[in-house]
Symmetry: D2
Subunit: 166 residues, 4 copies
């Protein structure tokens, strides 16, 4: 019984390897930095390129897959929604963040480096409220991990707190 549509469709390239975090409940939170470049002619007829860097969040199983298969440079399709967040820093200054929360991800073309073969698409299964007991997959070429899975108490278990971006 929602009211409104909030839909984002992106095709871009990753500026970095995925960043993985895990909530206290063990849910994967993968953050991508995704570039989309557009071109327009200015008044003088010169071609102007402009790149937007999107901060894309993938949760749960979708985040685990992203962390496992995506790599810097890889081209990817993302479908999701826009979320605006506001945090008040230690210094009392409010900071604003805009995230794209992904519902679907699809790897495109052939990756830039490594990247494990071809494409594939995945939908978020809405498992953001579940507590996956299966530990995250470890592997040689693991994504940058910035928080140990399922043990830190830095993150409250409630979803609202899971996603502190700094």
């Amino acid at each position: 019984m929602a009211r409104g549509i909030n839909k984002v469709i992106l095709v871009g390239n990753l500026g970095n390897d995925p960043e993985m975090k895990y909530t206290q409940g063990g849910m994967a939170v993968c953050t991508l930095s995704l570039a989309t470049t557009s071109v327009r002619k200015d008044r003088d007829g010169n071609t102007q390129e402009k790149t937007e860097w999107h901060r894309v969040k993938l949760f749960g199983k979708l985040g685990e897959i992203a962390g496992e298969y995506l790599k810097k440079g890889r081209q990817v399709y993302i479908e999701g929604s826009i979320r605006y967040d506001k945090f008040t820093g230690q210094d009392g200054v409010e900071k604003y963040f805009t995230d794209i929360v992904a519902d679907e991800m699809q790897m495109l073309g052939g990756g830039a480096e490594g990247g494990g073969g071809g494409g594939g698409s995945y939908r978020g299964g809405g498992d953001r409220s579940e507590r996956p007991s299966r530990p995250p997959q470890r592997q040689e070429s693991a994504p940058r991990r910035e928080a140990p899975p399922a043990k830190s108490s830095d993150f409250a278990d409630d979803f609202a707190d899971d996603d502190i971006p700094f």
Copy 2:
């Protein structure tokens, strides 16, 4: 020859009447505050509503039409792209803004108040680099105007400067 897709589709209701500004070159810049509400179940099975407020910018003729026909409460379809901006305030603090730059706008259903009849759809004609000489339409129930058209020198004529949001 762009590289990437940056597409946003919104259906929501206006939280306020449109705000109109004009660049020194006379181009209309209409800003909408658009709410999209979504629902999700939290871990306890309770329904959680969350409303995102999107700042939507419409330029040129599309902005003029939006300013003329849209009203607070009206339901509207917007298609466009995400643009992230950063400004450094007088105090040296960086501020971040996220805009949805509209390519297409369509009024939906019957408006909340006034709203002038049925729907209608309009595409941005890419006239952002032109200098419309036709003055903006004036009318009784005009949108809030915060800058006089085509005379202020507060705004540089270049598009890059046209869109200072504060």
Copy 3:
């Protein structure tokens, strides 16, 4: 692990009341006839209107909601995918059908007639492979029903056969 994106977004008005059918397994199948009108200028500068009539299918719970709340004339947002089907008639002639299979539906504005208040949005829960035991809701102003629920053997229980369109 799909490969490809097949996404349709429609905003249009219903040309008729929804048509409800039920598979032998009891799954609701709601069919909408949805008009979208576009305008273009022809070579002579004349404005040409063109209306496309989309055949939209909603399955399961999403179909039940559509059948219950939608009415002729109502404006609706549909998100889904395109499906092309081919059937060979009794006369051996092949017939082609194109359906929009809805994943999400949202009622827009105020309905044309009746229509039960405001809007609301619903997502297909992927229950197309389940067998809902709950009987479909009956009510005074019920949508046209063309097949009795959950008793006919005209339709095989497998999904592949559930959706014969004639």
Copy 4:
């Protein structure tokens, strides 16, 4: 002043090289056969793949670029709208066609064979009502051509007749 949204977003692979035709007025009409594959689990838990083959039409300059750069196997992003057409054959039998009329095209990843390097994106410039005098580019690995440019009288010059699909 249109009423309604009719939007299609596809990411898929070409099943064949592009087919080029030209209207009597000299406008390029490029037809793509584009596959999108989706996966669902059936009732027995088996994975079912289903491929939809979309017939995508690109007109004018967008069609020329598609004809020049796309190749069988290539992955491509298409944005456009659905168009339903009906033709009555010589035998008096009505035939139905569904086309995706592209507004935007972007080549993804690296092509399958040849394909001339990386990606690139292009928007339809709405030049469907113009008469491009520039002859279509010829080259060694030209797309299949089924009609000579700008001389045949088989096709009426009006757009309505330009696009007979058989």
